[in-house]
Symmetry: C2
Subunit: 329 residues, 2 copies
């Protein structure tokens, strides 16, 4: 790809994760579907937090995790997303900047508080999420500074953010600036519930505006409303430049025209918490891809980054990923 | 011991830990002594946080960790300490209450913000701490409700809090209420720098007002200004009812008159972060002691609780300690 000051700019929800252990019975009592993401309002966020066990606070947000992963791999990443200037917002900005990610969106001085994602981890290491979006929904096209997009080889968009009208406008603005500058765009479908809600819009985005698509098995099946992974693959092939499809322990597939790679999952010890696996796979792939690696090698870097993140709580790397790639690639 | 609604009430600093990895060079640049605790003011707290890497926020505070440990063992614990009604204060109160600890000290509505302990963990799992005490220093005798002391078999005091004049008054009030009600008092020396600063006062407390003393090797040597552990032991013996002296990987010693027990350290996997080892040893010992166990068995419960806490980041148990004791005692 063409030289650029930034490898990747990611755009998404700016969230602090509140992580706790939970029993399956707790999820049922709270009316939450295991292993899914539910959006909740401010009032429900308070009552859920009161009912949850002792927790740990750690910065998260899907696209922000991806940016932190790219920086940990030695890449140059920026993030666009909205927090308020409250304690959680300051934690979020601190953790991202000190991870080496460029983050210069101004913190909101009024309006809803910084977003929180309540993550309940059950004994099988599955996570169930209830997200209060707070300040995130106030992201506007004005927060997308053109140079943060034109300076990046790839602008990566988080499907979770495809909901408030102004955020959609911000997405469209970023896509236009990126393509006008001869850059590439990437999208993650984020969640099969997101896909369900905006299937038509996501298909249109994917088929016309996006160069690189990230999706897991459930998401790509939901996008084409088919039962099997292979059926989804046949539908999706040929639509965008690169398809990167993740399948948990079955590994991933990368498709570009006739070039097809099957990448094995990597295991680095017991799985503790699967939060962020997809975010870090995208980080690894995009780091490789924007740094001159082939598709297969980029996919393997994605698998290594995902393996690190699921070996501990939280969705930001604990071990420098550049060192890990040196050892495991 | 006599029946009581509570096993232990602990009194100490109410702190949220901000935990990060750090290089030894970072500690030198920040003028911090490795493996020690330094008190810092609000201004330095801001500049240190800006310089630190990405962090995780988790409730801490030595005596609060002990209370959470007792609850996790199945015991009945209360905590007395001061936070402000800001985001960190609400996190602190949430984490303690949902751990099963009684905490009903009103949150401050003005004055300094909730205390933060910046913990930098180096690769050898040693932790270096810089603490901004904030709201903690506003703990007053009024915050010590008599029934929270009279209801507890043991009132446990954290040496760290022995600094602001009002907190000392709160300590003295708690000791008097406890003894007037025929209950017991316990003290942890907390840190050899604390001992250095208040050696005379600590000796007097220990020799006249305290029934159970917790100290590690450095602290007890500092209390009597001697070079060897054995010398310190000879000085300390006979002063209070029970001495519990911890020696990291060398295990611990429990002394009551002529009864002397040597307790081995317990190992549960690799050591990740030694934060809270002493707090959880005290939790285990006090849980056992207030629930009819002998000194040796109480010490072994302390070793198991300490082993759990050093196997992960943070000083609050991740695995229910009652289950762990069932398996490992």
């Amino acid at each position: 790809m063409a030289e650029a000051p930034l490898d990747v700019t990611t755009i998404g929800n700016a969230i602090v994760d509140v992580i706790s252990h939970a029993d399956p019975e707790f999820l049922i009592r709270q009316d939450l579907v295991k292993a899914s993401m539910t959006l909740i309002d401010a009032e429900r966020a308070v009552s859920l937090y009161d009912a949850m066990g002792p927790a740990v606070e750690i910065s998260g947000g899907s696209a922000a995790n991806t940016a932190a992963g790219i920086a940990s791999l030695g890449g140059k990443a920026a993030f666009i997303g909205k927090v308020k200037n409250d304690a959680m917002g300051e934690i979020f900005a601190h953790d991202l900047r000190t991870a080496g990610v460029k983050f210069d969106v101004p913190l909101a001085t009024d309006g809803p508080s910084t977003a929180r994602c309540h993550i309940m981890v059950t004994e099988d290491a599955e996570r169930t999420m209830a997200t209060y979006l707070g300040a995130c929904v106030d992201l506007t096209p004005d927060d997308v500074k053109p140079e943060t997009i034109t300076e990046a080889q790839v602008t990566y968009l988080e499907g979770y953010l495809w909901d408030p009208e102004k955020a959609k406008e911000a997405f469209r603005k970023a896509i236009k600036i990126s393509h006008d500058a001869g850059r590439k765009t990437a999208l993650t479908l984020s969640d099969s519930f997101c896909v369900d809600r905006y299937r038509g819009e996501f298909r249109k985005l994917f088929e016309y505006d996006i160069d690189i698509l990230f999706a897991n098995e459930d998401e790509i099946k939901s996008l084409y409303e088919v039962e099997s992974f292979d059926d989804a693959l046949q539908h999706a092939r040929g639509h965008c430049d690169i398809l990167a499809l993740t399948r948990s322990e079955k590994g991933s597939m990368i498709v570009r025209g006739d070039e097809v790679h099957v990448i094995d999952a990597v295991k680095l010890g017991p799985i503790v918490d699967t939060t962020g696996a997809g975010d870090l796979y995208a980080a690894g792939f995009l780091y490789g891809h924007t740094n001159g690696k082939g598709l297969a090698e980029s996919g393997r870097i994605g698998s290594i980054a995902a393996a690190e993140i699921i070996s501990h709580f939280g969705a930001r790397p604990e071990t420098p990923l550049d060192k890990l790639v040196e050892t495991h690639l």
